[in-house]
């Protein structure tokens, strides 16, 4: 697990953020402890411990063979899908930069890691909102508001 819920009521928000959430993340805001193996004491891996300043409706975690995690989330009201974590087998669903980019970092073993939630622009370009999604070890399946099923990874 790479994510931790913090109590929504105990965190401060700007007024536009302060709207009710639905589904399993209801009333809670997501904090990312990205790419940190559960129970690990290795602080070097714990490089992205910051609150994700978006309200999410639903989250799903995958898992790579190296026991790191990747996350995918839909945002509360918009239905856009975000992904972050280890970029392996195309699981993140967005273009991988060829050059160094601020949002990405290369791990010791050469794997590329997306440090912050990045919008999957494929769906934005087609104006497709995601209503449900689920994540496997190396693939993601998403159900869209046009009732079509999409998969990648």
């Amino acid at each position: 697990m790479s994510m931790k819920n913090v109590d929504y009521a105990s965190t401060k928000h700007s007024t536009q953020d302060n709207r009710p959430l639905t589904d399993i993340q209801g009333g809670r805001k997501l904090e990312s402890l990205n790419c940190r193996p559960f129970g690990s004491q290795n602080q070097e891996r714990h490089y992205n411990n910051k609150k994700i300043n978006k309200l999410f409706r639903k989250t799903a975690c995958g898992r790579t063979s190296h026991n790191r995690t990747q996350g995918e989330s839909t945002e509360g009201s918009s239905g856009w899908l975000y992904s972050w974590g280890v970029s392996k087998d195309g699981v993140l669903g967005h273009d991988i930069p060829e050059e160094d980019e601020e949002d990405f970092r290369v791990k010791e073993d050469g794997a590329l890691v997306c440090k912050t939630p990045k919008l999957i622009d494929y769906f934005v370009g087609l104006s497709i909102k995601i209503t449900k999604m689920s994540s496997g070890a190396g693939h993601i399946v998403a159900l869209a508001n046009n009732l079509k099923i999409y998969s990648w990874g």
Partner: protein, 98 residues
């Protein structure tokens, strides 16, 4: 397993107009549940986690679950483990395979 990775979302066109209401992923297999209480599955199948009886390592396209293994009941909910799957049926039974 054959490497068929895609880095951009691709529509699974065979599930179009099937009234899919929910989707579930195991480590390598996937289920789609429709509004009539039947399910489609595909993906890694070496441990029979897709619920199809034939001995195939991978199923490359969604296949409908045979209602015989459900005793004619509808599927209400699905949970996928890494290599197993649970169905909750309309008569409150739990069916496990994989």
């Amino acid at each position: 397993m054959k490497e068929l990775n895609v880095s951009k979302p691709q529509e699974i066109s065979s599930l179009r107009c099937k009234n899919i209401v929910d989707i579930y992923c195991g480590a390598g297999h996937s289920f789609a549940l429709d509004s009539y209480g039947s399910a489609y599955s595909w993906g890694a199948s070496a441990d029979y986690q897709t619920g199809h009886t034939q001995n195939e390592e991978d199923i490359y396209a969604p296949k409908r679950i045979d209602f015989n293994i459900l005793g004619g009941h509808k599927i209400k909910n699905i949970a996928c483990g890494i290599r197993h799957t649970l169905f909750l049926t309309s008569n409150h039974e739990v069916i496990s395979f994989g």
